[in-house]
Amino acid sequence: MEYYRPQHLKRVLQLLGGGKGKAKLIAGGTNVIPDLRGKTIQPDALIDLSHLKSLSYIKEGNKSIRLGALTTIAQMASSKVIKNYAPILSEAAQQLGNPLVRNRATIGGNLSDASPAADTAPPLLALDARIITENATNNKKAIPIDQFFKGPNQTVLKRDEMIKEIIVPKWTSPHIKTAYIKLGLRNSMSISVISMALWIDVEEMFCKQIRIGLGAVAPTPIRALKTEEMVTGKEITPDLIEACGSELKKEVRPITDIRASAEYRREMASVLFKRLIERVTFEQRE
């Protein structure tokens, strides 16, 4: 196996396009190294991104915040900008893995690995983020995150393409609330049994718009579109919440694995939804 450690993005893209057999990007390596060890991947070459400091940033613009693909989860967890404009992403980052993992793991790696349980995905889905990619011929694309994942460990990325940055829009309405919950087999160092992020534009219990991002309940991180539709343009009532909970159980398509059964995950989808809705509407009730 060959190993490359380019200093510039251009060289990375060149290498990716170079047809050097099966090349694998490695950022923090917290997925790649265990996969290599477990022989679930057997690449011909590794392209180490860890020296691309130019892709490690969190920037605040007028309408959005931008995160370089090599931004670590630890950087995200401690970032004021993310805390202010994407608090659910901040929470998800704080709960991902453990401090050792967070110091190495990157957001680009988390999304590209495309685990159904990738913890940054549900908040980014709820926040309607876009993924900016670039390929060997310097073609850039902006992919809405809900179109990025294809299946377990599969994305729309082509072989010569990589993530450059992630764009999270700032929200415009003053009535937007967000909330996030991760449920694992323990409170830390735990891969999600289910995670859920909620973004809602709600005033006096009237829901103008809602986005629900879910992890570990389908082959990819997903949006709960049907449930969202049930709530959009409605007054939020206990009956509606109950109905949404039931709908969510149908909408998710979880599997049974070593961490939990499909039934448990379904059940939890509804429990977590109720909790999140209660959290975001707490001040508006009574």
Binding site: P34, R37, G38, L183, L185, R186, N187, S188, M189, S190, I191, I258, R259, A260, S261, E263, Y264, E267, M268, V271, R275
Partner: protein, 781 residues
């Protein structure tokens, strides 16, 4: 408790190995580098059951690697755990095998200049396997139509046929249970299951072997017993014991995982002998996880009682799925019977145990050797019985427990002795008071429900008894007083991380009245020590410390004899006390001024006058294995929406006799609680029935253990030590370690029952199980 004036016993002190450990300077097997050392790796079966048809190591050898296969290791069937006497030891293992019976069983090994090269060479060995049908369920395995995993195994020297894959059975009867149940007014019966837990000791099993010019070998390895490793290596490789030297080296935790000579040890030795160079093998975590696990159990327990709560009869049936090897399931079954009958008086009882082979990771001792399994069943059923009787469960326990003056045989039917110290009553009453047992009330409303549960248990301090039984149990030491009044002691007893050797140093310091800093724990090996069986069975302080106490007293007699020559008073007129300022033990004649001399001066005078070294060596078999009792009160919160159980508070009571290291003893209680909570709520290993692999693939990612976030905070854990002294123990001490975990699982399920009214009989109790049970209960109305 008699009034005592100890300067070392019972005092909080800084551990002698503490500084080296916290600064990373302590040397473990994996830290060793010897000149010309090669790195070894082991080739393991990817199949749960197979025959090796062909094996080709030529490409690996072409790389310069030294290779061994099953053809090149001594053709000997051995047992890796030799704590049991040879006549009662089952043997079914080979150094390398052509018939792997679990995923991860070793078939070949390589050694090369670097770890990378060894890894590469490993990948070049070509093996052709014939896959055989595999068994993953003990009950299934016992069916006559199931494939036989073994034709024969050895029992002592005798070759035994294995039928229905049953590796060992045990039936024990006392009284007449039919009569006992007939006389009972209430009968309760339940089935209990416990998980297949991985030891998860911090240091993975490792070995370094150096072949010596004289044909001998020197070995460093992760073990709980250097002498048993020595004896087994001598037997396998036909090397006289004087040429097999096993060095004592720190181990990074054990929990029972190294009670045997681990399978990697003879592989390392065989490689080193072939290469004629030192070889080191450090298991990866993935390899370590397929090496051993805790015995999982299926227990069916029936108890009969009178209406006043007096137990009349008991019947316990046990099936243990031991996996691919018999790592002494026979004594395990004896102990399981023993743990049971030594908890409560049963006039009529019957125990039936079966240990069954399957194609899984071999089970071996782990914290309690069957005791947590049995105590989980017994203490759950006692709670059920108490409820039916309408009796407070503490009263039920007080009425029936085996206590002071009674015979008990915790370590199995051949290890019987009389209980001479007992803090059961004190613990139950005090624990109830500290935990608010009597005032606890039910909250059956809301999402979060709280419940308080209790359970008691015990473990033996070692396996000694007046009569020699099936278990070998004795220890020995050498004590030497140096010419400045400091002391060296040499023991083969291993410290598994709990601070056992610190306790031993305190025993020496106390007996000789020298300051603790002046007692040195010598680095030793099998050449420089007398035999100690093993650090297991919570025997370190009581048996190892007991032997050391005896030897120290012998050295003290010699010291006093020399002092008597100097002071011109008979030895029995001499007293000894510590002089902290002088940093010396002082010998004096009471009431006679001027007749006073330090231990150092005596030793120096003896040297100058050529009287000799003040030293002693001896062995001691303890003729008891006193129960170190305990009781735990645990409070949990159950979330009825997610099923998540959170232990929030604990009162941990221990009857360890005289406590020698108070902070470390507390640490043992915390550690037992921690691992016990994991046993009750989380830790388990499951198998992929298609591939025979562990579902967690040997990774900690999916062998989950609790973290500090899921256990009660330190300020919410109370510890309590009883005011007992064990008359047969060194300075009144008993053991503590394993006892600290034995009742935890039962206390947790009892607390869950208290919280939500649902009784779980299978552990770990997962959120899924809780939720499912809650839904069923709701649906029933």
């Amino acid at each position: 408790m008699t009034k005592t004036h100890y300067h070392a016993i019972g005092k909080k002190t800084v551990r002698k190995d503490g500084l080296a450990k916290v600064t990373g300077q302590e040397i473990y097997t994996s830290d060793l580098f010897l000149p010309r050392m090669l790195h070894g790796r082991v080739l393991r079966s990817p199949y749960p059951h197979a025959r090796v048809k062909k094996i080709d190591t030529r490409s690996a050898e072409a790389l310069g690697a030294v290779c061994i296969t099953f053809k090149e290791v001594p053709d000997i069937t051995y047992a890796e755990r030799i704590v049991t006497i040879p006549q009662k030891t089952f043997k079914d293992r080979h150094v390398l095998t052509d018939h792997p019976r679990h995923v991860g069983e070793a078939v070949a090994a390589v050694a090369a200049e670097t770890a990378e090269l060894a890894e590469k060479a490993l990948g070049l060995i070509r093996v052709e396997y014939e896959r055989l049908p595999a068994l993953f369920d003990a009950v299934e395995a016992m069916k006559p139509e199931s494939i036989a995993l073994y034709e024969t195994i050895f029992f002592g020297q005798e070759e035994l046929r294995v039928s229905n894959n049953v590796a060992a059975t045990r039936e024990i009867i006392e009284g007449d249970i039919e009569k006992g149940f007939l006389e009972s007014e209430i009968i309760v019966e339940e089935e209990f299951r416990t998980g297949r837990v991985y030891h998860a000791q911090m240091e993975t099993k490792s070995v370094v072997c150096q072949p010596e010019a004289d044909g001998g070998i020197t070995v460093w390895t992760t073990t709980q017993t250097i002498h048993n490793v020595r004896q087994l290596l001598g037997e396998i490789f036909k090397i006289p014991l004087n040429k097999v030297n096993v060095k004592k080296i720190s181990v990074g935790g054990a929990f029972g995982s190294s009670i045997q000579m681990n399978s990697v040890v003879p592989i390392g030795v065989a490689l080193a002998l072939k290469a004629r160079r030192p070889v080191k093998i450090v298991l990866t975590r993935e390899e370590d996880m397929v090496d051993h696990c805790k015995y999982p159990s299926y227990i069916r327990l029936k108890l009969g009682a009178k209406k006043d709560g007096k137990l009349m009869a008991g019947h316990m049936r046990v099936i243990v799925d031991i996996g691919a090897h018999n790592t002494q399931a026979y004594p395990l079954l004896g102990c399981m019977a023993g743990w049971w009958v030594s908890l409560y008086r049963l006039p009529h009882l019957k125990f039936e145990g079966k240990a069954v082979y399957t194609n899984k990771v071999p089970a071996c001792a782990m914290q309690g050797f069957g005791n947590p399994q049995v105590t989980f069943a017994v203490e759950s059923l006692m709670e059920i019985l108490a409820e039916i009787l309408g009796m407070d469960s503490i009263d039920l326990r007080l009425k029936n427990y085996v206590g002071l003056g009674e015979t008990f045989w915790g370590q199995g039917p051949t290890v019987r002795s009389i209980i001479q110290s007992c803090g059961v009553e004190e613990m139950l009453l005090k624990g109830a008071e500290l935990s608010g047992w009597k005032e606890r009330k039910k909250t059956l409303e809301g999402t979060i429900r709280r419940g308080l549960g209790m359970a008691r248990g015990f473990h033996t301090s070692g396996a000694g008894a007046p009569m020699p039984g099936e278990v070998i149990d004795y220890s020995g030491s050498i004590v030497k007083i140096n010419e400045d009044g400091s002391v060296d002691f040499m023991t083969a007893l291993m410290d598994l991380g709990g601070g056992t050797l610190d306790a031993l140093a305190k025993i020496v310091a106390e007996e000789l009245k020298v300051p603790l800093e002046k007692v040195g724990i010598s680095s030793v090996d099998t050449r420089t020590t007398v035999y100690d069986v093993c650090t297991h069975a919570t025997r370190g302080i009581y048996c190892g410390g007991g032997a050391l106490h005896k030897v120290t007293a012998q050295a003290k007699s010699k010291l006093l004899e020399f002092a008597s020559r100097i002071l011109q008073a008979p030895p029995h007129a001499l007293k000894i006390e510590i002089d902290e300022e002088a940093g010396q033990g002082m010998i004096y004649v009471e009431g006679v001024p001027g007749k006073r001399i330090s231990v150092g001066e005596v030793a120096k005078t003896a040297q100058i006058n050529n009287w000799g070294t003040i030293a002693a060596v001896d062995s001691l078999r303890q003729v008891n294995c006193p129960p170190t009792f305990n009781a735990q009160f645990i409070e949990v919160e159950v979330n009825t929406e997610t099923g998540v159980i959170r232990p929030v508070r604990a009162v941990l009571c221990s009857d360890a006799g005289q406590v020698i290291n108070p902070d470390l003893a507390e640490g043992q209680l915390y550690g037992g609680l921690y691992r016990g909570l994991g046993y009750a709520l989380l830790e388990d290993t499951d198998y992929d029935k298609e591939t025979g692999e562990l579902k967690n693939r040997g990774l900690f990612t999916d062998f989950k253990m609790l973290t500090a976030e899921e256990i009660p905070r330190l300020e919410d854990i109370q510890t309590y030590f009883t005011h007992t002294r064990e008359p047969t123990g060194p300075f009144g001490a008993k053991g503590i370690g394993e006892a600290a975990l034995n009742p935890t699982a039962a206390a947790v399920v009892n607390a869950i029952y208290d919280a939500i009214g649902i009784r779980f009989t299978k552990i770990p109790v997962t959120p899924e199980m809780v939720l499912k049970a809650l839904n069923e209960k709701r649906n029933q109305g």
